[in-house]
Symmetry: C2
Subunit: 270 residues, 2 copies
């Protein structure tokens, strides 16, 4: 199944499922609410002219993995990890699949194309099989990072937690239609130029491994989101480093899921 | 004012304010809800035999500062910071003022007595004066840390985000009754032995500075919690390192606010 939160021209949103090229309404205002409510209900009315927006507006937890593609680890000069590197961001960081990324003009803004896993069932101290069965689906994310703030201290959080800078979507694809372990191409383009290109089969810690690991110390609930890390090709690792400029178009794509297309807008810093 | 979330013997909770030694009901089930609702309502019925529990069960954000007391920074071997070191934890980490801290027996469990700031008004791109005016009050916290997990990777999150390990409370004291900048003694005792003892006037980044800094990149809302960092004396910095054992009693105290008293219970690891 292909799922989305779709919006009417007046801004009203509904959870929806794609049925023969047409979005049909599910009984919830968005996929966050639909997942928390137990994924109930049969598809209803067709929603012509409704467009996908941020599919998961209110996750309780957004947990991110860093350093999870072998070649990205190599470009940061590190060894392959024994444990996933994790940090948290808040739901406020999320942005729709075609919204503008608005950041201060003096910020070092970088891209990080990522596969995002959507949790569909409660998980606590789960093994990998239970974790795999609890995956509601996958979506695309770009963990846009403010590198100068990220590197101000030892902890990355303040470079990762800027409100409305992490686009996700445009849709959530359920596991029977998308298998990251079998291999999905993931890429990031800036103004049409490919800057990142990898395959999800090369993830060091795959989706069930990440969910199981996280569930050792905290409960995951329906609608929670786990970002699985970014491949090589970030701007900060280029020589010289390259950051996003006003008007740049960032396209983040995972084959079989879809493409985010976000324009960068730099504003006078306050 | 002294505020709390108090619980009846049957587990029902209410927001409450202390009035002449008696808790009086405020019109909300807990302080999180009362703060989000605008702090409205006059004190109602006396709640005899109700006891303070976790005052803030549902903060939207819990943001923590590390390395914020000069002598704790010295014991970690680092220079005084130009910027606060920040990380996030989830509301699920929080625990009541006298509840057991339950962790696996093989974990390296350490203490971190902290002053916690409670946000009372929305803050975004705020200056320090606006941030100071938005402080609803202060409470006591212990950012109990699983050091072996904290040190597995570069990011501390997985050692800080264990469910139900961060006691807070017992009450929230409003700013006119407690001034951390003027100086409040903060201490941690383990089985009666003082292991941490400092004064909040020695914080490198005080409460308004932290709230203003965080509000540069994300909105803070009523009920959000900012933990301001821990003084010197953590177990991991002792020679040899010292960690909490089954049955240990951790008492976390800030003069003028109150004392947390939590027993450690180690369980067979899964």
């Amino acid at each position: 199944m292909k799922l989305a939160t779709v919006s009417a021209p007046d801004g009203v949103t509904r959870a929806a499922v794609l049925d023969g090229g047409v979005w049909r309404a599910l009984p919830a205002p968005d996929l966050s609410a639909w997942l928390r409510g137990g994924r109930d209900g049969t598809p209803g009315q067709a929603l012509a002219d409704w467009e996908p927006v941020n599919p998961l507006p209110t996750p309780g937890k957004v947990i991110c993995c860093g350093l999870n593609y072998a070649e990205h680890i190599a470009e940061t000069g590190r060894d392959l990890p024994a444990h996933p590197t994790l940090f948290a961001k808040h739901a406020d960081t999320l942005l729709g699949p075609d919204q503008e990324i608005v950041v201060p003009e003096n910020a070092a803004v970088d891209w990080e194309a990522e596969l995002a896993v959507v949790v569909g069932a409660p998980l606590r101290r789960a093994g990998q099989a239970e974790a795999a069965a609890a995956i509601a689906g996958y979506t695309v994310a770009n963990d846009i990072s403010i590198r100068d703030w990220q590197k101000r201290t030892l902890q990355w959080f303040q470079g990762k937690a800027w409100d409305a800078t992490t686009p996700i979507g445009p849709i959530v694809v359920t596991p029977e239609e998308a298998d990251p372990a079998a291999g999905l191409d993931i890429s990031c383009r800036v103004n049409g130029e490919v800057v990142q290109h990898a395959n999800t089969r090369t993830l060091v810690f795959d989706s069930p491994a990440l969910l199981a690991y996280i569930s050792t110390f905290t409960v995951l609930r329906p609608g929670d989101l786990v970002l699985t890390g970014t491949p090589g090709g970030i701007g900060a690792a280029m020589d010289p480093p390259r950051f996003l400029a006003d008007g740049d178009i960032v396209e983040t794509r995972i084959d079989g899921i879809g493409t985010l297309r976000n324009r960068v807008r730099l504003t006078p810093s306050t």
